[in-house]
Symmetry: C2
Subunit: 402 residues, 2 copies
Amino acid sequence: MPRIFQVSVPSLRVTLSSIFRKQGFNSTDALYLAGTLIDADQRGISSHGTQRMAMYDAKIRHRIIDPHARPGIVRSKGASLLIDAHAAMGQLAMREATNLAIGLAQSHGVGLVTVRNSNHFGTAGQYARKAADSGFVGIVSTNSNPIVAPTHTAVPALGSNPIAVAAGYGNDQLDFDAATSTVSLGKVEVHEKTQSLIAADWAVDAHGDVEHDPVAIMNAIRSKPRRAALTPLGGPGENGGGYKGYGLGLAVELLTGLLGDAPASIDLNGTRISHSILAISPEAYGGSDALAARVSQLAKRLRSLPSSDGHPVLFPGDKERAALAQHHDTVPIDEVTYKQVRDIAWGLDIDEPQIVRIDDGDSAIATGNGKTDDTPHETTNIGETTSTTAYANTPIITQTSR
Amino acid sequence: MPRIFQVSVPSLRVTLSSIFRKQGFNSTDALYLAGTLIDADQRGISSHGTQRMAMYDAKIRHRIIDPHARPGIVRSKGASLLIDAHAAMGQLAMREATNLAIGLAQSHGVGLVTVRNSNHFGTAGQYARKAADSGFVGIVSTNSNPIVAPTHTAVPALGSNPIAVAAGYGNDQLDFDAATSTVSLGKVEVHEKTQSLIAADWAVDAHGDVEHDPVAIMNAIRSKPRRAALTPLGGPGENGGGYKGYGLGLAVELLTGLLGDAPASIDLNGTRISHSILAISPEAYGGSDALAARVSQLAKRLRSLPSSDGHPVLFPGDKERAALAQHHDTVPIDEVTYKQVRDIAWGLDIDEPQIVRIDDGDSAIATGNGKTDDTPHETTNIGETTSTTAYANTPIITQTSR
């Protein structure tokens, strides 16, 4: 399995933003995009961090993502607004959508912005968190390539369709972000890398039978058409409530593509993705301070409940906040991803990011709490990079961790 | 196990509305309340139908529910509005909230109404469906008595916290309504009645261990304090994604009590419940006809997917629509419920509802698709009613079923 490189955050920021700059984004956008990916890495959501660079690079080269696109307002009425991303990076379309939703909520109490013709937008949580940090409730979702099988079929027809919800401030912020599938594909990929069997009903094969071998699942998912699917939250069939995960996935379809008069996940193939963000002002209720106080009080009470299994009761966001506190100066990047980014950088005459430390592969790669992750990472050509001499020319700096 | 009585719908409507009238509700409200309960029975959601009469009767007698309460607007700003139910029946507060949310969405594109100081409101789906029938997207939730254990504890601290989402029209309407627990308590009660072990991880005992005996679960849930809890959607622990059901339950807490500056589920004891309804106008997007067309098209495509297990792929609402079509003239009422309603009626000098047919208990009592159901039904004194002679004076009419 690949080794884990602890990479300097400032250096990574320079490399990623330089790549985006040379791909055609303006300086502000390039820095913003680098920041969102590094933030995901720092929060332990590696599946949505630097690991995504190879996918973005390919989509930019194939003109699926347009670095020069300017998202525009299609229609607006009162508190509702529709944006056409014009094939912009999802992050840039959603930066705009989030600001507009917050503005609408300031004026109208509520603001709902739907985005269509967009691309993969990274984590859903970042936009919900932006609304919460601004004193609002934020609810964010996106559709995505079909990878989840509805109840009673094995055909992947829904996206992983994450829902993110945030409110309150700081360490007690409610910061929830989860795919409506049982797990994100990233979790299956972690098991593939570690070659460990999956103990739960995360995926089904083409016959609808639960498959526990992560290698078999990933191979079947990488085939075209896909010959495996993730289960909806609650698992296959009805016994564990899987029809609820299916229904929640459909709720996301409704708020994104269906409402935006754009394709549903079943018709997506990596483009024309739709997102939505709802911002709610607490002003007509108790105000944002009262809301934050209630959120904080509930967080503290839930965390203080006695554990039944030795693990502490967490409040949504606790894991990611703990990871963020640990990764101020360096972030873990797996060897495959590191090489992909290095090659993209070298091809654009940009320096590769600095490695502070190399860990062996036993350190688990955190993939976050079930974030959406609908595109399998390329793991071919891994053999090219497993020799330590491949990094003979890579500077390794030392640095004191916080 | 109790027998199932097929009861005349017109007769049941007269009995229930007469009871509500004598309890102090005006004629309009009494008929509306009877209608919402019968509609749940007709849709196969018996847990939220006539079965609830005993609970409502007790709460009205104990002045927890005030038949004379007039819900009032506390604050409003633009598209957002807060209602104080003043201890009204939840259904009456939500009838008002739904109309207001639709009105706000007509004016502002979006409308979000939160209700506090309310009571059990029946099914969440009925309000979402009302919004959908009016051409809007409806999203409804409510907090409720603590019965769901957050991930890593056995303490019930969240309500079953249902989410209902609806859009589109007719037989292809997206009509989703589900508790954020793995199942509603009603499903456990059905297993209790049939004395059949539960094959999935629906509930945990006071130590956090999965309990499969429905009698043990219900006894522990009826004890004070509760010594069992439902699991969040995804099950106990993290392996099946249970932290997502926990997080979704918290999202409901946020949109109801926390936003409404009112108690969270953890502090509820059958009163001061909060609800919310979000209505969205499709006008700023493709309009309501375009949305309904997209919903309908997706419904048809999903239903046509090949089955992997012999069961057809359904669209949310299909089960309830099929039940509704079968129960135009009669609804199935279990023997215990029938006796409770008969006794309430007799106590108020009202005729009991007419029984059309008596089935033995092998006909399953439908409890819907995992609707919220946070109050255990009283099953004490069941022995009193198991003799057929108990119904010697009850008229049994015959009727042609559609």
